[in-house]
Symmetry: D2
């Protein structure tokens, strides 16, 4: 039987001896490091580190947490400690467009997204058949009943399925600032433009009219400030000037779906650090 | 002796029979088409066409112009007609940074930029030695004497060398709106950001603070509206979050230099069409 | 009602007046050119041209074919003439892996592949459920009964569905040389390596052991000579040395599926010219 | 005064506690880790690690080496220990083509290559002027006098300038197997093809005739087996089928020069690990 693996994430002001101290604590607790990624952002003097390790028989989560919390206090660390056996539970929110939904479901089926997907929620009935064919419960919410009521319905479904992360897979509704605040850093959105350019509606139309030569998509945490949340992943594609707006939209779909999957993957692997409004992804 | 080649560019509202009419006129004038690139932008109903052709002994520029001007009038065409033997004369304007200057000079020496470069102008003395080693006259202008006077000096040098196109190769001065208007569509600038994001000063700092995952550069026509002129070419490079601002600047240099060279190349090959504030590059 | 559109493809030794002659014939037949792409390969003195045009009411396919055949004879042209309303009928052949099959079906549903897909054939039952969910007949063939018999079964299915093009979407069987000859230039295969490197089995293993820094996939016409047929499209992805062979395989899937779709798209748009064992794709 | 920095590289069969042991040794010797990159290649069970660290006043190279050699012995490690203040001395070998030479000299002048370049050697006089303008001694060697004699001349120059690394910047001579063996893993070559495809002469001609859609270049260690040495870096560029062989050559130059610079940079940062004929670059 394979031993359980764990992930530890640490960020703090840079100082001497951090790695030696952290790795000694892991070794003394009976952990064996499988992978260590570390970065010191010299522009802001911050240290970021992500370690995955397996535990000997003697290793227990509680004892490690207790030991590490003392170190964390000493160095003013923000830290996270995850047992990789406990999968994150992800809700997919969709509207009418299927390409991002299909991509996540297919990558999940291919074991490239290490999570559970217990529920799909939509403000339209159109994609219910896809949920069916992947054997996932599908709920339709009614936006027309008023934002507060509808978000209450949403919360009930999310609570029922014990959801950890919300993924907006081309979900065409803006969340209230209360909702965003409650799910802070737990909502991932795909914006079909290369942020910070082309915020808001119809980004491909904007891009075409500006005559840009490259279009892109941005996976980011949703915040109350539309399309302004911290960026998790971006990708682009070159577009010839012979392409129409419709072709921009069509070509953009491939970028959107791969950006969204990669953003979710980065979240699930605990690779995203947040500091002063931007992310540092350390892998 | 190779026959002279010519380039014809045409844009007009789309309508039936344009290509047949244009190509028949070329054939009747004794021209043989080497390359034809054509695009109809269906979003705006515009036709763009660029044709290069060689002339038989009987072909004369004057007679062709006369014949074609009748067609142009009939179809409300904007058109350009160029004898490829007449090279464009390009002035390079630089400040202290050498990477774009070197790139243009090396590509020119390698015959990848089909123009003459009779003069290099700078507001600093730092790069004079590069001009020397490529045997090109170097002039230093004095910005401190006042914008009007200094731009007058600039104009005199440009006139003396009979300049067709000004290339701002990381030239750290904003031109007056009078100057931009006079040289409308004849000044190419390189902006070290992926426009329309990150206009203005220190785009790499802006990009780092925003946490973007891809940085870029933009070659565009300079207009009075800073970094807002029509985009000619753009390219990007992926940046890891482990990169510092200084590394952004350093990595960006490679993107800047190749974007600027490609923007100039597109100009020299008469591939850039302008319509309602954006370019259509047809190759 | 939109007028019917047609596509004309022409290749021949380069000579004067080709475009003017071709476009005049189209105009005289009542055709209006929508798009013309042309290239003269100077290394071999060959002219390639692809024209799409709509027809006036007076336009008939038969009369145009008759007129053009005279021109074709005069200039020793190879040519093709297609009524775009007549969709190509494509058979998909698959084994156990689903990513290429899904991609083609989803792009087809999104109207990005302009063809009909009347049948899916496999040597395994595994993907039958996908065919079902897209409402396409699925046939399982029995390779074990002997190559000749099994290919006979295949031919019967292909005949029954009046197939124009066979797409091997990760179909893990090599076709006989007789079969390849019969379906010459009508079988498109996806090879999961950057040809001509890494022919044959387990290309990702080969690539990993060689330590290449970039992996790719190749869409090509299948010929009797394994993985040696003319290349239609290729794409690549950068791989870090920290990636395992399994990760190569997983990352490669995204490249494979987009290469196969693009190869099929190029075929359907009549953009592929063949000359001396290689393709010239003119768009 | 900034403290001296050091780089430690370690590779060995994977086993428990490696990172904790290594980092503890650094900490006990008075070193402070700045950056740690580590990878376990699970396909072959090998551990690779590269650590840069600064030393306290009490840190001495000798004492650290002594301490670490005991650990290395215990775990059967291959290891390297470098004082970053001691720059590598690099000889550039060139023939007639200047783009790779210019690129290295310009990147070096821009402080992007952390080495010394005390000498340029060529079998032709053509590029002497570039050496001059960068104030670097230039030697012309005479290949015609016979391989043994000429390589002896080469060795004398390399010895005189105390060279650590030879960079073949489009040097059009094959080295003898004795020479390659003596300078094993100390000669970096740029091949103008995407290895392992297109080995040997005229790779762009081979690529064009095969009709590939992407061309590339490969930076690798030179070995007696032509173009077969371990790959250090590769990059590619998409080529349209409308490009001629000459355009392949011209476009390829940009790829070649950036691949060569990156290959040299990886060497200078001690990021290249070799195992069973391939490299693992860990950064």
């Amino acid at each position: 039987m394979p031993r359980q693996t764990h992930t530890l994430t640490v960020s703090c002001p840079d100082q001497s001896g951090l790695i030696a101290t952290i790795t000694a604590c892991i070794a003394e607790s009976g952990g064996n490091i499988l992978n260590l990624a570390q970065h010191t952002a010299t522009d802001i003097g911050m240290f970021f580190c992500r370690i995955s390790f397996s535990g000997e028989d003697s290793f227990t989560d509680e004892r490690f947490s207790e030991s590490f919390s003392k170190i964390a206090k000493r160095f003013s660390m923000e830290w996270g400690f995850y047992n990789d056996a406990k999968k994150k539970r992800v809700a997919l929110l969709v509207s009418k467009t299927s390409h991002c939904l299909y991509e996540i479901l297919l990558k999940h089926a291919d074991r490239e997204l290490d999570c559970e997907i217990p529920v799909i929620i939509s403000n339209h009935p159109n994609l219910a058949h896809i949920a069916s064919s992947f054997h996932i419960p599908f709920f339709q919410v009614d936006v027309a009943k008023g934002k507060a009521e509808y978000e209450q319905d949403l919360e009930e479904i999310l609570a029922k399925y014990d959801i950890d992360l919300i993924v907006l897979a081309r979900y065409m509704q803006v969340m209230s600032s209360e909702f965003c605040a409650k799910w802070d850093k737990k909502i991932i959105n795909i914006h079909h433009g290369f942020l910070p350019a082309f915020k808001g509606a119809k980004p491909y139309h904007q891009a075409w009219q500006k005559g840009v030569k490259i279009i892109g998509a941005t996976g980011h945490f949703a915040t109350a400030d539309l399309d302004q949340g911290p960026i998790i992943f971006q990708d682009v594609i070159r577009v010839a000037d012979t392409r129409s707006i419709d072709e921009f939209i069509s070509m953009g779909k491939d970028v959107e779906r791969r950006v969204l999957v990669e953003a979710v993957r980065r979240y699930l692997s605990h690779s995203i650090f947040l500091y002063e409004g931007r992310t540092f992804v350390i892998e």
